[in-house]
Amino acid sequence: MALVGACTTLPTVAHAQLNVFACEPEWAALASVIGGELTNVKSATNAYQDAHRIRAKPSLLAAMRKADIVFCSGAGLELGWLPILIRKAGGRDVQPGAIGWIMASDHIAKLEIMDKVDRSMGDVHPEGNPHVHLDPRNISVIAHVLNERLSAIDPDNRHTYDKNFALFSRKWDSKIEQWQAQAAPLEGRQVVVYHKAWMYLLNWLGMTVVATLEPKPGLPPTASHLEKTLRQLKSKEILAVLVAPYENEKPATWLASKANLPVLKLPYTVGGSDEAVDLVSLFDETITRLVKEK
């Protein structure tokens, strides 16, 4: 594919890459696939950071300054830091609603949209659960949106973006079938999670959350809440306690040992483990490890 790319660009003047400012590694990975060599992608965060609570640090301002595209989850996930970056250093094309502003959660059907919200409920997202990347069907839809945007911003290279998208889409669709077949035995199983960051994955696989370690969204687990949760778990058939790389293991380990459950550390996003180096391997490893626990 690189050779074909070289053949089509050699005769013309080399033009600047599009700079993509991706808020999270999953979107950086997707942008790299659809944009390929034509994009220069930077991820603002890594798998070991909590995207809710990032500092609007100088290096992000410098990256935003050069951004042609801002590609994030939206639905309030980056509300604590992204608006400052966009206002201070973002150009016209990446302002909210502009052509280079892409919020993934805007383009899919969100779970847990809330009618009535109050801060006593914790750090809730009224627009819906923003952690949309863990359902591969969402990735299909968002990849399509990204392809369209890239082509609209950079029409000269539309054929390259279309080609990259078609290649990805074909492979992705067949992988989704494979994963669904592989994950069939997981349907109906239950898990304990730290924070409801896994909802789209679980919804896709037909699994449910039986308890969260956080007493309320955004609050760290307390001893009393863990005790109460432990009592609730007694009579249920649970697969595991899921932990993401940016979550504190200790509460999960405590609960798991008391409830005789395995702790399952999943990569959660690209870069969250040695194996999860791109979107395909992220889901490969996630499904494989979930199925192994059954």
């Binding site: 890594n46 070991y48 950071q49 909590d50 809710h52 609570r53 500092r55 609007a56 640090k57 100088p58 290096s59 301002l61 410098a62 935003m64 300054r65 050069k66 509300l79 604590g80 830091w81 992204l82 608006p83 400052i84 966009i86 206002r87 201070k88 250093a89 973002g90 150009g91 016209r92 094309d93 302002q95 909210p96 609603g97 502009a98 052509i99 805007d106 383009h107 899919i108 059907a109 801060r119 914790g122 750090d123 069907r137 969402n138 299909s140 839809v141 949106v145 369209e148 945007r149 609209a152 911003i153 989704i176 079938e177 669904q180 077949a181 955004g218 609050l219 760290p220 940016y246 504190n248």
Partner: protein, 451 residues
């Protein structure tokens, strides 16, 4: 053809396939299995397609009425959706409203907490003893249109017996300028050093450092225009400056159409690995022909004041996850040259000297909701001319200094409780031990905090 011939032909067909029939039981089973497998594959495919369609239908109903994403336009005015499901009131365009409530209990060991060597503004003084609410800040912010954003922060507080409504910041920003430009106009806290542009409610300590109190009256906020540029460099680099009316401390007495004060600053910043971020800045505030009143009107200054600040801030997360563990280091060094006359009530005395001050603080987040910090600050007053010996500007050989230690509990990003102990020696012989218990909470919309 005759019926008999058809019958004969069919019988022949049946008999010709008879030997194959016995062997096809196994193949029938495998055929059945194959059909079953195919059925499953197609069922899953249909299931997937159905879900895709449902997704797309949901997107359609969600995005009905929104501006088409593909149009290359920066026009993003909200339009009401075509469906009748959603009732839209006039207040849908209301600004984001947030309120900051603060209060504290303070206990001091010294009766007074006056500075020596410096004539200071009202915000530099220590607060009231006992239980007292601090400023209540009302904040309104919203996009005005696709090019401008507006922000108003109005503080309500009591000074003595009077309730003051203070306009802390009321400004508009141009948010979508090209080339990394950003402009702000109105009244706002100028970018000067680190702390000046931040609201005190977001500080890591219950009070501001000595130099911020003495040189900037906690926040220098004036009416004017500030422009900044983030440069297209790999390392974060920003330069900017502003021109102001010159009414706020350390300026004062602005009249006519002069630019009373102006600022300029430059900043660099970046990352060291994945776990550390840093920022370094250089700034200046020049106030020309200021006529400044200080020490509650007892002291006045008329002349030029030049302030220079070097600031640095380093944030490190030992685990790479700032939400869990984090260490902050922050320091600012101030130098001020003043040339003019001071009047302490006995006539104007010429003054031409410089003063210095600095603070350094460290805060360690040792649990996701708990932080402990310590801060040291010091002031160096200028050499006092003969005419001002024994006045407020005479430091009497003593450099004011203070050290503070605090612990705070941040249950959520909207509430914080803090316990702070400070030891301040602002005058010779004045050793003030201060205990402060503070709460800071935010209701409603709460914008993001800068680095």
């Amino acid at each position: 053809m005759s019926k008999g011939l058809i019958l004969a032909a069919s019988v022949a067909v049946v008999f010709s396939t008879l030997p194959a029939l016995a062997a096809t039981d196994a193949s029938l089973q495998s055929l059945r299995a194959e059909i079953q497998a195919m059925k499953q594959v197609y069922e899953r495919k249909i299931d997937r397609l159905e879900k895709k369609v449902a997704n797309l239908e949901a997107i359609q109903s969600q995005t009905a009425g929104k501006a088409t994403a593909i149009e290359p336009t920066s026009n993003n005015l909200i339009t009401s959706p075509a469906t009748s499901k959603r009732r839209v009131n006039d207040n849908i365009f209301n600004p984001e409203i947030g309120i900051i409530l603060q209060g504290q209990y303070q206990s001091f060991s010294e009766r007074t907490g006056e500075f020596s060597g410096f004539a200071v503004g009202e915000e530099a003084e220590r607060g009231n003893e006992g239980f007292a609410i601090d400023e209540t800040e009302l904040n309104f912010s919203a996009n005005i249109d696709d090019k401008f954003r507006g922000n108003a922060t109005i503080a309500l507080h009591e000074h003595g017996d009077e309730i003051e409504v203070e306009i802390e910041e009321v400004y508009i920003e141009a948010t979508s300028l090209p080339y990394g430009l950003h402009a702000k106009a109105g009244r706002f806290f100028s970018e000067l050093g680190y702390l000046n542009s931040h609201h005190a409610h977001a500080d890591d300590f219950a009070d501001r450092s000595l130099p911020n109190r003495a040189f900037l009256d906690s926040n220098y906020g004036d009416d004017g225009l500030q422009v900044s540029v983030v440069l297209p460099t790999d390392l974060y680099a920003e330069i900017g400056g502003g021109v102001y009316r010159g009414d706020d401390f350390p300026g004062g007495g602005a009249a006519g159409n002069d630019i009373g004060s102006w600022t300029a600053y430059g900043r660099l910043g970046g990352d060291i690995g994945d776990k550390t971020s840093w920022r370094l800045g250089l700034s200046t505030l020049q106030s020309d022909n200021a006529t400044r009143s200080a020490n509650e009107g007892e002291v006045s200054f008329a002349g030029d004041s030049s302030l220079y600040i070097v600031d640095t801030r380093v944030v490190h997360s030992p685990t790479g996850n700032n939400a869990e563990r984090e260490i902050l280091f922050q320091a600012e060094y101030f130098h001020r040259d003043e040339e003019g006359v001071y009047d302490v009530g006995n006539g104007a005395i010429n003054y031409d000297d410089g003063q210095n001050g600095w603070y350094a603080q460290g805060v360690y987040k040792f649990l996701s909701q708990w932080r402990a910090g310590t801060r040291v600050s010091q002031l160096y007053a200028g050499d006092v001319p003969v005419g001002l010996i024994g006045t407020a500007l005479d430091d009497q050989g003593h450099d004011a200094w203070a050290v503070s230690a605090m612990v705070d509990w941040t249950h959520s990003e909207f509430s914080r409780l803090r316990f702070q102990f400070s030891h301040e020696e602002l005058r010779d012989g004045q050793r003030d031990n201060q205990l402060i218990l503070q709460y800071v909470v935010s209701l409603g919309a709460h914008g993001a905090h800068p680095f």
